[in-house]
């Protein structure tokens, strides 16, 4: 039973949310490409993990694609900052990082974005404004608040997009950060990707209040709940939050209701939820299926989608090939990047 996930509409929290968000066919096709890229990339990552080519922890983003892709529409690439936790591949691809470098990082090769030293949970890319990729649950919230602080300190109107999950939303430093962000009116957008499960613990079992968009209320931070399976709803909610932040009105919380199809990590058999629950979401709320309906309404043709599918398939195949052919880091890399030479 996907109680929360069965929610179809975005429950408004006072602010008027348009009922029928609009997008051009071109925009919809772009979202389609990005979301399909993430899904195909993650599926291949799962396969490579099973083949032993990816080690350690590997947290897949399948099911949550509409979140990163919808938010990215409000990001000024290379000017704004993006930060997230360990389920980060989707954010990196949405931010515009090279799939080859991301995949090669997963395989621990020199061609990876961190030269193979970071792995799945620790990737960074300054040109696209992507500041990680952080493995400690909740740490990215304080760090992302600091990215927002830096923007305000410099007097620009850049915004920090801070992603975390329903699990992290119970960490103390999240509230320390909320307090400072509102106190100093920092341009931080807190995007809580509520996929209903903190590893194996459902939100009902972990959280005294499950309406996470209200978690900033005691600090005076407004928030709203968003249907995270609808890329246009995410896009529009992010745009509203960003407009506020750029105008100097301070932080905002978006609780994005979403769902992860796979286990918490590759080693998670996901026995804490039923197959029926997962199947129900896949069948009725899949973000890519939803987008296909919008595309059909916008008169996109099967051929147009097929062309994108094929292009994405080629991009992912190229990434996989690169990730397997790129050599492991030279042993001399062991002692590089510990310190910046002054």
């Amino acid at each position: 039973m996907a109680k929360a996930a069965a929610q179809k509409n975005s429950p408004s929290t006072g602010e008027k949310i348009p009922n029928t968000p609009q997008a051009s066919k071109e925009d919809l096709l772009r979202f389609y490409r990005e979301m399909v890229l993430i899904r195909r990339f993650e599926e291949r990552a799962g396969q490579l993990y099973g083949m032993g080519l990816i080690g350690g922890f590997c947290h897949l983003y399948i099911g949550q694609e509409a979140v990163a892709v919808g938010v990215q529409e409000s990001v000024k690439q290379g000017y704004d900052k993006i930060i997230t936790g360990y389920r980060d591949h989707g954010h990196m691809l949405a931010a515009g990082m090279d799939p080859k470098e991301v995949m090669a990082e997963l395989t621990g090769r020199i061609g990876g974005s961190s030269k193979g030293k970071g792995g799945s949970m620790h990737m960074f890319d300054v040109p696209t404004g992507f500041y990680g990729g952080h493995g400690i649950v909740g740490a990215q919230v304080a760090l992302g608040t600091g990215l927002a602080f830096a923007g305000k300190y410099r007097g620009d109107d850049s915004v920090s997009f801070v992603y975390f999950g329903d699990g992290a939303s119970n960490q103390g430093q999240v509230y320390e950060s909320f307090n400072m962000a509102q106190l100093w009116k920092l341009p931080a957008i807190y995007i809580i990707e509520n996929n209903q499960y903190a590893m194996g613990t459902s939100i009902e079992r972990s959280s005294s209040t499950t309406e996470l968009y209200q978690r900033g209320a005691s600090f005076g931070i407004p928030g709203e709940q968003v249907d995270g399976m609808d890329v246009l709803a995410v896009r529009d909610a992010a745009a509203r939050a960003v407009a506020r932040a750029r105008a100097g009105e301070g932080p905002y919380i978006l609780e994005v209701k979403t769902y992860r199809y796979r286990g918490h990590s590759m080693s998670d058999p996901a026995k804490y939820r039923t197959k029926e629950e997962v199947d129900e979401v896949k069948k009725t709320r899949d973000p890519i299926d939803h987008l296909k309906m919008l595309l059909a309404a916008a008169k996109a043709t099967e051929d147009e989608l097929k062309a994108i599918d094929n292009e994405v398939k080629a991009v992912v195949a190229e990434a996989v090939q690169f990730a397997q052919e790129s050599p492991e880091p030279d042993p001399s890399e062991l002692y590089t990047d510990v310190y910046v030479e002054a």
Binding site: M123, Y131, I136, T145, G146, Q173, S177, M180, L183, V338
Partner: protein, 449 residues
């Protein structure tokens, strides 16, 4: 008849200024009445009477400076002669004989003054407290670089819990001198994020004991990100504040984190002894493109030392300093223990033992060449640190000496450190627990035996 004594405003206050008397001889005071105002370089406070009685005599006039704690400042004719001042002053006899290193922190003039090579020989030396040296370092670097800012609890309007940031708010404003909520984990993480975005934060922990709430960001976020990002993300940040035991504040407020942070690759760890190093090394730390843990000592903020009056005094990170030359035994120490080591050396010199004192100054990277060179000369080693012994700084120093100078050793090296217990509150037990001059002297005698 009872004397009112000069009260202590803080665990570490030794003297203060009697700025104002609200009473005069012949007045009758009642309990709770404000009778005087006193001031230190850290704080101003009103003194209240805790008992009633007639003021017989004012013993210390208004405006008197450097009035030592516990000096009688006025005399009351109490009904039962039991009147005492407030805040209450500890008058219990302290186990003086056991108070290691007393007089605790008189700056020790080394027998051989070895200057850092970068100081011009004709540089004027200015008496400066460590507190002001640290402040000067921050102010100079903030003038030099717009990206440098200070954040922490009470750093701005209050002027610093220990007055290390005095006048910085006035000069730089509240954009660059930022009072934070009491939220170490949060503001340390915020500082690291700001550093990743290219700013150069100085994050002050009111003490490093409170910084333990933020240790995840110091280690997992600040120290490791350069490596995890394959060199892409820098974290030029300084975490600083008082470290180690203050006085009578017990276990949770008295801990030396030297060994904790010095174990972490990606961090640089500095623990200066005198004011010149405090200034020169803090300037170097702020300029360093890496995260730096800067360990100060609360008991030393008010001590004065010579600081060279040169344009831009920067002491290189990673270089130990021979504070005193000797031929019989090497003592390594850092932070406050350097003073105790120098005092021990004086005592031992009277007994004909020639001690070389190596001030480590930087714990990571550790300058083991200087240590090893010294031991090759003296053939004996005693390490001294304020923290616990097991897995400590001394353990590392000894291991490196054994690795690099084993054949030069004429005796097993010894470590001086705090007793292996949480620091007790009781004055006598606290004195027993902390290392000081006597323990260093005893250790030296043992390696000389």
């Amino acid at each position: 008849m009872t004397d009112i004594l000069m009260p202590a405003l803080s665990p570490t206050m030794e003297e203060g200024t009697l700025t104002k008397w609200h009473i005069k001889a012949g007045d009758v005071v009642s309990a709770g009445q404000v009778i005087a105002e006193i001031e230190t370089d850290k704080a101003t406070m009103e003194v209240e009477a805790v008992d009633e009685g007639e003021v017989l005599e004012i013993l210390v006039p208004e405006g008197a400076e450097n009035v030592k704690v516990n000096t009688p400042i006025a005399r009351l004719a109490g009904e039962d002669g039991a009147a005492a001042p407030a805040p209450k002053v500890e008058e219990a006899p302290k186990a003086e004989a056991k108070t290691e290193g007393a007089p605790a922190d008189a700056p020790v003039k080394p027998k051989v003054e070895l200057r850092d090579p970068e100081i011009p020989a004709d540089a004027k030396l200015v008496k400066t407290t460590i507190r002001d040296a640290l402040r000067d370092a921050m102010a100079e670097e903030m003038r030099r670089d717009e990206a440098v800012f200070l954040m922490g609890e009470e750093v701005a309007q209050y002027q610093g819990a220990y007055k290390v940031s005095r006048d910085l708010l006035q000069e730089f404003g509240d954009r660059r001198v930022v009072d934070t909520p009491i939220t170490e984990h949060g503001f340390a993480g915020l500082g690291v994020g700001a550093a990743m975005a290219g700013l150069k934060p100085i994050v002050e922990f009111m003490t490093w004991n409170f910084g333990m709430q933020a240790i995840d960001h110091v280690i997992n976020s600040a120290a490791k990100t350069l490596y995890m990002s394959g060199g892409q993300i820098r974290c030029p940040i300084v975490f600083r504040g008082p470290n180690g035991a203050a006085a009578r504040v017990a276990a949770q407020h008295s801990q030396d984190y030297s060994a904790w942070y010095a174990q972490v690759p990606g961090l640089k760890v500095i623990a200066p002894y005198d004011a010149a190093d405090a200034k020169g090394l803090l300037k170097a730390a702020i300029r360093d493109p890496n995260p730096v843990v800067f360990l100060e000592h609360e008991m030393m903020y008010g001590l004065e030392f010579d600081v060279p009056d040169v344009e831009d005094y920067v002491v290189p990170i990673g270089k130990a300093k021979v504070r005193r030359e000797g031929t019989d035994v090497t003592i390594t120490a850092h932070s406050r223990m350097v003073g105790f080591a120098l005092q021990a050396a004086e005592k031992l010199a009277e007994e004909g033992v020639s001690v070389e004192v190596v001030d480590l100054r930087t714990l990571r990277p550790l300058d083991h060449e200087t240590i090893v060179e010294s031991v090759k000369k003296t053939n004996r080693l005693v390490s001294a640190e304020e923290g616990w012994g097991p897995m400590g700084v001394g353990a590392e120093v000894v291991a490196r000496v054994i690795e690099h100078a084993f054949d030069y050793l004429d005796a097993p090296p010894l470590r001086v450190h705090q007793e292996d217990v949480p620091l007790p509150y009781a004055a006598n037990l606290e004195a027993l627990s902390l290392p000081g001059v006597d323990k260093i002297v005893a250790a030296v005698k043992k390696v000389m035996a």
